[in-house]
């Protein structure tokens, strides 16, 4: 198979590293003999999780075939390179929706499994792994292993959130949820500060299936952590009017805009973000009466801006996402936001949400508590030092950082944050004793080394 040595990056475009790319066209070509191997789907993890500097990276984008779809039971099986966008295009018109979806549909199923991604309904439905009935895992020696909660359960749980380090995920079988329409009944509520935001999120628990809050990370003082809680539920057919009721599962056409080139690095600065946030807070916070939005707009607002990561310019950005157990969550988030404010570092797109109980994946990110995510333009040492300070707060409150977003966590912090790492490592060692599967992330976090 042809190879291509190329500088690639994650969605945050930091760091950029040279990898040897291969792009199989057929499922049977997914595995190849190599000393260092890593599968990469759509490259939507932010940092170095889908990079393998100096090693081989297997692009799975052409391994994207539907293999089976049971329209009565809502069970779909596909090759792991299939994207959620492709899946939705087929299953939504037939009344089926993924149990869990992240904030972009341009992700591969394999990537969703490897990061055990979560959505706005984690507090109700758990993470992506909850809907996975079975996986095909291609191990270091080329064997194909069927993994499910019943069969090869240890390998299954090590692969959920295992960041692609247990092998190449070849196929994924999902249980979908039935829907009556492609529409979401949404409701917004503004909160004047972080305390209020936490309260609203807690209340949303019972009220709505989907719940997430946008946070104004540039607000200060009494307004620190002000934001808008956005709740949603799948709308029934009878809630729709006119033509929509006749074709409830049809999506209205969407315009996708493209950011064609890198924007200058100064574009997203404290001033421009503050101006945007104020406007957004006023316009979105006021939509307190229920309204209907199609699922695309509700779940994937940023997908309408193609290549939005170019907004951050050439240096890219880092996303920081942490989760902190409920007891210390408010204090931890307040400290993080205060540190952010004190640093003067610009931060964009703050997202806060409740998380439910931890799932089965050894290295799965979600745990009971609150999670905060933010995008920070990469400004070198200043950015990295700030995030180290965030880590300290998160560790102190028993929380953890999301590996799918990470580009800079220290190995010691990682081990303290993921108590099931030893169990994971044991399973991984049985599956891949030579450590063939590795990534820039796994080397940075020393995931192949003994305690």
């Amino acid at each position: 198979m042809n190879t291509l040595d190329k500088d690639i990056a994650g969605w945050g475009r930091y760091p950029v590293q040279r990898c040897e790319l291969v792009r199989p066209e057929r499922h049977s070509e997914l595995w190849s003999e190599a000393t260092s191997l890593l599968a990469r789907g759509q490259g939507r993890s932010y940092g170095d999780a889908a990079l393998n500097e100096g090693g081989r990276v297997v692009l799975t984008e052409r391994i994207n075939r539907f293999l089976a779809f049971d329209r009565d039971q809502g069970i779909v099986r596909a090759e792991a390179g299939l994207t959620l966008a492709e899946l939705l295009a087929v299953t939504v018109p037939r009344g089926w929706f993924p149990l869990v979806t992240p904030g972009t549909k341009h992700v591969s199923l394999g990537g969703c499994v490897a990061a055990d991604v979560h959505g706005k309904n984690h507090h109700h439905d758990g993470a992506f792994g909850r809907g996975v009935r079975e996986l095909e895992l291609i191990t270091a020696d080329g064997r194909r292993l069927r993994c499910s909660p019943q069969e090869n359960a240890a390998a299954f749980h090590a692969t959920l959130g295992g960041m692609g380090l247990t092998g190449i995920i070849g196929e994924v079988e999902l249980q979908l949820q039935p829907i009556d329409s492609a529409w979401i009944r949404a409701r917004h509520q503004g909160a004047a500060n972080l305390e209020q935001l936490f309260e609203l999120l807690q209340d949303s628990d019972e009220q709505a299936r989907y719940s997430v809050a946008w946070v104004d990370l540039m607000s200060r003082g009494a307004a620190l952590g002000r934001g808008v809680v956005m709740n949603g539920d799948h709308a029934g057919r009878d809630e729709l009017s006119g033509g929509r009721r006749l074709t409830p599962l049809r999506l209205p056409p969407h315009k996708v805009r493209n950011i064609p080139i890198d924007m200058p690095g100064w574009l997203l600065n404290g001033l421009s973000i503050r101006a945007f946030n104020s406007r957004y807070f006023r316009s979105e916070g006021g939509r307190t009466a229920p309204f209907l939005v199609d699922y695309d707009t509700f779940f994937y607002p940023l997908d309408t801006l193609h290549n939005w990561n170019r907004l951050y310019g050439k240096r890219g950005f880092v996303q920081y996402q942490c989760v902190v157990p409920t007891a210390g969550a408010l204090a931890a988030m307040q400290q993080i936001m205060q540190r952010l404010a004190a640093s003067g570092h610009p931060a964009f797109l703050g997202v806060l949400k409740r998380m439910g109980a931890q799932g089965e994946g050894h290295l799965s990110f979600p745990m009971e508590g609150y999670t905060l995510a933010m995008d920070l333009p990469m400004k070198g040492a200043a950015t990295l030092a700030l995030l180290d300070a965030f880590d300290a707060v998160v560790l102190q409150h028993g929380g953890r950082v999301y590996l799918a977003k990470d580009a800079r966590l220290a190995p010691e912090s990682f081990r303290a944050m993921y108590p099931q790492f030893d169990a994971w490592q044991q399973v991984r060692h049985e599956l891949d004793p030579q450590g063939v599967f590795s990534s820039s992330l796994s080397r940075r976090l020393r995931m192949g080394e003994a305690q």
Binding site: M1, N2, T3, L4, L21, V22, R23, P24, E25, R26, H27, S28, R62, R65, F66, L67, A68, F69, E79, E86, A89, V90
Partner: protein, 246 residues
Amino acid sequence: MSGTVLILGATSAIARGTAAAWAQRGYRLYLAGRDVESLRRDAADLAIRYGVAVHFGAFDAAAHDSHPAFLQRVTDEMGELEGVLLAFGYLGSQAKAAGDFRETLAIINRNFVDAVSILNLCADHLEQRGRGFIAGIASVAGDRGRQSNYTYGAAKGAFALYLQGLRNRLFPAGVRVLTIKPGFVDTAMTFGMPGLFLVAAPAYVGERIVTAIERGRDVIYVPWFWRWIMLIIRSIPERLFKRLKL
């Protein structure tokens, strides 16, 4: 539409893109190739995405004696064919072919002889039917011989000439013949190759092929600007061309 299209060499990226464009229009498909497990996957994928019937079966282009029985099996299963896409080919290595005649022969056979063997039979089938189409994937490499790939170019050029004759022969019967000359397409063959530009996605190429058949075109270049690139390349005087390192 409910016509059936037979795709020979169906696991190639261009074939996959073209199959999707037909399936989207409601055509039934028969996917043929060597790698039956991959065909099974492609067939399931197309059937689920587009809700059309997709059959598949083993086809060995080099086993010419097996071709009549193969075509019989396809028509037994699917009924009469609406059209045929010939998408198999073998780029090979010019460097290897220079020192190893088996490689030369493999390139010529796969791209020309094997193709002629099966298309002769398909032509008879469609001619009797009095309608339908044959589409064959040739190459811009067949437009002018260059030192870097003239064996491949010669075989593809011969194939294009064959399609031209077939077009002439089948015209009275109402059967259209399309010659497709792809430029750079983003496939396993071109992945990682240096010096490529404006590489086309297989889905785009597939859509262009199906549209060209609908419009009754004879020869197309995909992407379209390759017509002009090749016009320039063909118009360079041989006295000069032979000195170039191409």
